[in-house]
Symmetry: C2
Subunit: 371 residues, 2 copies
């Protein structure tokens, strides 16, 4: 008996780098006391969204509307585009997967350019569909438009990935820099512009939407500022002809009816969103202050997390991270050097950050001892 | 500017055959009064599942556990298998998509065998990943094991699709017939055994699970008997080595935290499930009686719907269907001749079936007039 998997699937690693905090809790035999590692919004969704989801739970014997009609209409209005410029998906990861699948097939000819250390799930999909990944380094802890365009001119990729603001570094570019990047994209290449953190970004750093440009797709999510990571709903904005391709391959019924209701209510509550953005800004200040008080350097952040430079190598930062984990504080760190000299701390409530403030000096002492 | 889509995606149709009832309501400008067309469970999920989902809505700022650990543990116990024999997905459609992707890549060499008129979403994925679909006819309104195995011996497919009980006809086979099919599957072929309706099936029609056999995957869902179609959670049971491949390609965070909580609670309430199965049996009797009273022939059903033979061709059945739709009764029909001489009516509450009983004679009169 030999089942005939595709060569791509046969070649994929059996393990993937997505360890959830629950898995760590099971390993530790103990719950985390502060969950500030996955850039989730501990401030939660709008109470109106919670109420809408609780209400929708009763109706979940019905499939959600496969057209996501009401949500697309509301998003179109919110962004001053048309519903045909929007595709809704079961989380931003699935939208990345669909995008890669549109352009990448096995054989080695389909190339994708990204930055070494940028969002790994995007790379997971490139590998998963048999694409060839070309990476350029971060420059000054930022994804670098010039480097990406240089690589693109060389390898003529089908896709370029760029996040603004960036995860895991928290860095961002001005709208002008983004426009320069967009203009420089080779004519047969699509720019995958990940804007998962855009609601936190300073004014002037997110370029205006231009749905006449078929070379850019803009990805947004309800998982971060809207606080609905566990509901699974995100969307992508772009030129109608490009967007139409999602309908060719997406799982049409995959957005839950509960998530649709929650997203509609969350979108309608922009007051709550603004409040979250304020609270996140306060939390960023606090994380930076805690870091500085312990000799770490907070990097500027336009997101709901702060990346703290531990000032040494990846091994040291990993020891600091482990020292926080063992003290019940869930945080994460970048996976690639030199970014991995840092740890990454998500915005938390006062109680979460107090736990972090208590644990950090102990973690640093322990990390220094084991050198 | 020419974006370079893959040849497969370029060749896919821009329209897909998944019109939701909401789209029909928007076209009609009027809501349906009875929603008995998509084999949803109008009886709803267990009240305990609703409560668990409402509760989880508050926690949905957290991603769901990407390992689906608790749910897999509960399912493993329920089915007397191990957690490593189970993969959980965001609906059965996504699990079919992942399965097809494991085995099918473009080039024309990767063949899949199914029955003409069987579940179209499975075929959507085969086309979507560039596979070649070979179909055999239904025999006596049943998917036919002999025909499928004959075709399989000829084309050596990577996958065979089989549903037991069957949608859209409601028919089923004995466990012995299934065992015969399983034994006959060519040694390099995987049997995709869709058991979405298995909770409704008569005793002795679902073969025992055998997770030592790597040639069969068994697909189950919370969308039908458990009444959670809009929550998006399903699972597949099989040999651990085969199951492991889902981890290579699935969207690890795609099952919502709300769905995880709901599924756990629903699974724990087998008393409610048994009650639903009873109510569905009663509804099937009633649908059959309404059909017979109007000169239609109900086909035997092991599912939560009854397929009614309208006794003429597909055009006629379509007119009957349209007559029901226009009278605010949402029903569907098989898409392929000769199955499309029938309409398909999902189990409903008394009120739903009373609306159907009122509308059917009018729909039949109108269909006869427009001959």
């Amino acid at each position: 008996m030999t089942l005939r998997y595709t060569p791509v699937v046969t070649g994929l690693p059996a393990t993937v780098p997505f360890v959830g905090p629950e898995a760590q809790e099971r390993l530790r035999g103990r719950l985390f006391r502060a969950r500030i590692g996955a850039n989730e919004s501990v401030f939660g969704p709008s109470p109106r969204a919670i109420a809408a989801m609780a209400e929708a739970a009763q109706d979940c014997w019905m499939y959600g509307d496969p057209d996501n009609y009401d949500l697309k209409a509301a998003l179109a209005k919110h962004h001053s585009v048309k519903p045909e410029n929007i595709a809704v998906g079961e989380g931003i990861d699935s939208l990345f997967g669909y995008t890669v699948r549109m352009f990448v097939q096995p054989g080695g000819a389909d190339t994708v350019v990204t930055s070494a250390g940028a969002y790994p799930t995007f790379n997971f999909h490139v590998a998963g569909f048999g694409g060839r990944l070309v990476t350029v380094p971060y420059v000054n802890d930022q994804e670098d438009p010039q480097s990406l365009l240089d690589a693109a001119r060389e390898v003529r990729p089908k896709l370029i990935y760029f996040a603004n603001p960036d995860n895991p570094m928290g860095s961002w570019w001005s709208a002008d820099a983004l426009q320069w990047l967009i203009k420089g994209v080779p004519s047969e290449t699509l720019l995958v512009l990940d804007e998962a953190y855009s609601e936190f970004a300073p004014k002037g750093s997110v370029p205006p939407l231009d749905v006449s440009n078929a070379q850019v797709l803009r990805y947004r999510t309800f998982s971060k500022a809207y606080g609905m990571a566990g509901a699974r709903v995100a969307y992508v904005i772009g030129e109608a002809g490009v967007i139409r391709n999602f309908d060719k391959i997406r799982n049409h019924f995959s957005v839950s009816r509960i998530a649709q209701a929650g997203a509609l209510a969350a979108l309608a509550d922009q007051t709550y969103l603004a409040d979250v953005v304020d609270r996140v800004a306060t939390a960023r200040e606090r994380i930076g202050a805690i870091g500085r008080a312990n000799g770490l350097t907070p990097l500027p952040s336009a997101t709901n997390f702060v990346t703290l430079d531990c000032g040494r190598d990846g091994d040291y930062a990993k020891r600091v991270l482990d020292g926080l984990i063992v003290r019940d504080v869930f945080v994460r760190m970048p996976g690639v050097a030199p970014l991995n000299r840092c740890i990454r701390v998500s915005a938390g409530r006062d109680i979460d950050l107090a736990l972090f403030a208590d644990a950090l000096p102990l973690a640093l002492s322990a990390a220094a001892l084991t050198t």
